[in-house]
Every structure is written in C-alpha cells, then in structure tokens.
Amino acid sequence: IYGDDGDGEDAVVFGFDPDSADDVGDEIVQLFYDNGLDEDIDVELQPGASDTGERRDNYETLLDTGETEPDIMLMDNGWVNVFIQRGLIANLSEVLEDDEVSRIDDEYFEAFTDTARDPDSDELYGVPLFPDFGTMQYRKDYAREAGYDDDDFEEWATEPMSWEEWSQITAEMVEESDANFGLSTQMAIYEGTSCCSFNEVLTSWGGGYFGGEENLFGPVGERDVTVDEEEFVDALRMLRTFVDGDDENALEDYEGDLAPSDITQWSEDESLPQMENGSAAMHRNWPYAIVNNAEEFGVDNYGTMPIPYAVSEDEAAQDGMGGTASALGGWHIVMNPNSERQEESLEVIRAAMEDDFNLGLLDLWGWLPPKPELFDSQEAEDLEPIGNYMDTLRVAGENAVARPVTEVWGTQSELIAQEVNSAVAGNKSPQEAAEDLQSGLEDTES
C-alpha cells in the first residue's frame, strides 16, 4: 500500500522535527515560499525520530553510508559538532555567499552559532534555526506569599541573583506557600545533566570541565581536565546542600533541603510535572516549559529568571566562565554533502535565514529566533505567552554556555552524569566524585 511515495521525487527533502512537521508542516513549508523561496522548488518535511539521540544515530548512518536524502536536516547543536568533525555534513562557508556568511556572524547569537562551526577552522557548517536556553522558572504566586512583589519579579527577570540569595528566597517561598519543595531540576544519569543542568551550575561557579571557554570543542588530548578543582567540588556541594542540608559536605551559607532526592532520577520529563502540579516553587527548564506552565498558571503567576550564579565572571577560575549561565540547546540546519539538489537546498536555507521566517516559527511553534535583536522586536513580544518572557530569554541567550561537544563527548558525558549523580545522591562525597571524574576524563582525553 506504500508503493507510491507521493510527489517526493524532485522535492528537497528536509529532515525535520516530527511533532512540528505533523502539526504545522504545511504552514512551515508555506513560510519558506513566503520568504522568497522559488515556488518551483518543492520542499518535503521528513520527520525524524522524536528522541534526539535516536535521530542522531539515524542521520549518522544515513550520512555515513552516503545517502543522498535528506538533502538538508535539522541537527541538535549538541551533536552537530561530531558530524562536522567527521566530515559528514557540508561546509556551508564554501557554498553560501560571503555576505550571507557574514550576516550569520553578525546577527546570530554567537555562542549558539559557534556550535555549528568547525572549532579548528571556524568554518560554518550549519545555519542556526532556533536556540533553546535553560532558565530558572518560578511561581510568582508562591513568591508573593513570601512577600515579594512585581517589582522584584521584574528585577529578577533580567538581573541574575546569586545562588545564596536564590536559596533564601526559595526557602522562604516553600515556607510560606503550598509548595512542597523548592527546586525541580534534572540530575539523572543522562546527557542533560552533563551538558546542561549541571553544566549551568558548574559554569556559574566559574568552573568548566576542560578549562576555559576556548577548550570547549577540543582539541581533545591537548586540553586540561579541570574537574578536580575547588569550583567543581563546590558546585557539587551546593547541589548536595539543596538535596540534604545536613550532609557533612553541605555548604554553610546556603539554605538546604530545597530539592527532593528524587532529582537524581529526574530528567525534563519528570521534573516538569512537579512544577505543573504545584509541588515545586522553582524549576530549571527549557522555554517549552515556560509556554506550558504559563498557560497553566497564567503569565501573572509564572515568572522566569536567568540561572543564578555563585562566582562572577571576573573571579571565575576558568576563562569565560562564571556569572549566570544558560545551557545552550537548539537546532541548526545542515546540508547533506551528497545531496543531489544542493542548489535548491541552499535556496531553502536562505529562506530560513529571513527574519520573518524566524518570527513565523516563533509564532507557529514557539521556536525562539536565533538572532538577539529579534528577541527585542515588537513582533516577538506580542506573542502570547512566550512574548512576556523574552527579556529573560535574551539574557540567557547572551550567557549561553555551549556543550563541550567533541568526538569523545559521548563517553565523557556519561562519566560526568554518573559522577555528578552519585555526588548529588550522596553516594559519594563531592571530593571523591571529582577525583574519580578527573581520572576518568583524563583517560578519555589521551
């Protein structure tokens, strides 16, 4: 019954996100034409697996075996780097016009765009489509019960606070409101912990896994592993404090017992419902959670703030770390080097670089624009409910920390997640975990 694949013969096949392709696929295709794509070029959105890892494996096999389709595809910024290093995707610097390349250099979030570059040559392999930033979200109504008001909220929205202050506010909120606990975050053994939820904390303590910012994407083996360091241990101790304030490794000045021990088994999936059902006062998550919860509680009762920090950027032990830090998620458009419709594909990519296209996606599906100034644009702010949180998101975007993705990141991220998890769970002391991780990472680096 599937003998006929439809009109796909001559179309540019675009490996896409399944949920949006199913729901608003036609509108997205129309959006391309609205932004200057030649009507003669057909675009077919081909949904990939919903699970990011799975989609990655899928593209990896496809590209590795020289498949000609899909011609272009979405790639998570978390793993596009590996594809670049393996030479599996096309070098866009070579095929895009120079002015287009410089537009990307100028207009796009820099940190985000960097994840689509070859770290050695800085050449561009992907055009950012939409970024994702981790933020701290909270229940304004609970905060009000603890005596805070809209002024505070406004300040919090753009001014990062310290973890210490944050812990006190959170403790107050739990005390005064119906919240059962303070923080809902993700500390399970999975990629998200190493790349994002813990990485944010680590960066905000001025630390990094491999020294400063410049080493994020390698070179593997020539950079130092900086895990067995004070800032790393302190980050872990702080998290441990949040889970169990009475732990022997707990930090003095922080309020403890803010998060349930279950966070060690939570990923986004499990942490979000804790916010939804009113148990948690604070919630670290991606913008989709903002949309979700703002609809649930109303924009008046739901607030966001940048991730708190412990050490300012100046005092940071590692270069470029410190201060508030948001883990960088999001997706790029990349091109299949074996594509038989390169020209048409480039046309599609060009259409996707238009501002209206980015705003159109924000409207259609809530995907953030990859360009800072679009965050401030009126069009963006008009969108409900996400428009109300653009301020925070912009700060987050400016302070985004990319994942240290290299060809060995897969192995390393598992190690990191596991050690962090056992430290947070209290199975290991932070110091032990740091030492073990240090030697583990050093092994993988050689």
């Binding site: 290093q85 393996r86 053994i189 279950d262 060690t264 060995v408 190690l415 596991q418 583990g440």
Partner: protein, 339 residues
Amino acid sequence: MSAEEQSGPARESRRSGPLVAVTRWMENLGETGFAYLLLTPVFVLLGAIALYPLLRTLELSLYTNIIGTGEPDFVGLDHYVSLFTGESDRWLPGTSRFLWGDVAVTGEFPFVHVEGLLRSALAVTIIFAVVSVFFETLIGFGQALVLDQEFRGRSWVRVAIIIPWAIPIVIQGMIFYLMFHPSTGFATEYLANYGIVAETNTLNDPFSSLLIVTVADIWKTSAFMALLILAGLQSIDRSLYDVAKVAGASRWQQFRLITFPLILPTLGIAILFRTIDAMRIYGLIDSVSSCTVVPSLSCMVVATFGSQRGLASAIAFVTAIIIGIAVMGVIYQQYKEGL
C-alpha cells in the same frame, strides 16, 4: 485396469516433464546430496545476510577507531589487545570495564564489593544471564506444566502467560521503569523496606537496577521458555504415560523418567537460545536504567558504535566468542542427546 496401473515403475520412469524430472532428481539424490540441496536456502540467506556482514565487520575491527575522519588506518589486532589490557575501558560508558573490573574484596571473605563487579560488563552479563536463565527455566517449566493440564479456562491462562512475551521491550522497560520511578514508583518503597532495592536513586543504583532488569527479563521471557517447553510436552506420546502408570510410576516418577528425558532436547534448545539472548542483553537495560549504571557486553558495542566503530566491531566479535564459550556446555549436552 485402474489409473494406478499406469504408474507402475516402468511407466513412471519414462514419464517426463521438467517438474517430474526435478522431483525425480531430488528423490534420487543420496542423503548427503539431498541434505545440502535443502540447505541451500539457508546457506544463501545466512551467507548474504549474516556471513557477509560479519566478515565486513571483522574487517572493520582491524581498522582505526574514528570513522569519517579520512581513510581508516589498519591497526591489526590493536582493538582486541586494548580490550584485554583494559586500555579501551575509557571509551566505555561510565566507569564500566569491559572485562573484570577491579573487584574490591572487603575484609570478610565472602563479601565481594559489589560495585566493582557491577561495573564490569562481563560480570554483569554473566550474572544477568545465569540468574535470569535459571529462573526463566524454572518458571517457564512450571507454567508449561500448568498449561499442559486440562482445565477450564486453560486458553485464557495461556494467553495471560504469553502476554508478557508479546510486549515490546520498550514498553516492558517502561513498565518496570515506572514501577521504580521516584514519582510513580509504588514498588520502590515496599521493596526498599526489605532492603531489596535502594531507597533513593533506585534506578541509578547498580545493584537495584540489575535486579530490576533481571526481574523484568524473567517476567517477560519466562513465556518464551513456557511456550517452547509446552510444545515439547505436547509432543510426548500419551500412551507412554499409560505404560508408566501401570508400571507403578508416581507423578513425580513419570515426570522424572518420561517427561523430563523426552523434553530434554527441547529444553536444551530453549536454554541455549535464552542464554545466548540473555548474554546479548541491551534494550531492556537501556529502557529501564542505562548502560552507564548496568553495563553489559552488548551495551559496550552500542555505546562505542557511534564513535569508535572499529572498537565496536572488535567488541562484537569478542562478545560472540565469550557467548560461544559460555554456551559450550549446553551445546555439548545437546550433542550428547544426539542433535
């Protein structure tokens, strides 16, 4: 005379036509020729779909790690060597070891530090295989014996017993994952009270996870055993039981002297394939817990597959060899049974 007459041997041998000729040719083949003829489809299929890829994979295991970065370099047996020297361990997920980990033995003798063992893929795989196959055999046998009885509602009981086997591993994983999940895990509390599983961080606790994975596997694959053994039971000639009964055999003796020996070949096959399968456990671990927590041999292959394809291929071959060694006993038993 009758139509039959026309097909006397004389007439028969003169009849022609391609089909007849082929049939005759086949019938006249000696045992060996006929055997190999019938095995051709197997050879073709397995040759193309199994042997060829395996040889290519073997070839791959002799080349450099990272694919995509230029032409692969020939490194000979380096991957294999590094697996056994522990050099490759750093590529393996979490703090796993491919072979025996650094097993910590604490003061009191029998108490081996479990963490050490559970960080070794080989140990995990063997523990998992032995425990799960043992219980699956036991339970499957019991279920098969129950289903072999005549009673009302038997077909429903049969369906009930087979249901777990019909559930995809992803869902099987989900069922047990949610049972021990911190938010939904009603089971954690009850079992933690008895110290069976860890109270918190259950699914990230190696021992608890291994236990849960094992139980989940037993739940699902006992049905496999039950089905096979049941088929074996039903193929036994019932008149043998009559003889045994009259000869004075109690139920137990009938089981021991008739049922068991006659079911043994089938049981052997079931155990053989279950063992092989258990030693390739991956999907369940992945969906209940993770390879980082409970490493298995196949986990190692999958974990390195994305980045270190040469190493992954080498691990696959070593895994196959380890499985081959592990099931040698069963095969020998089967061989003695005349298979």
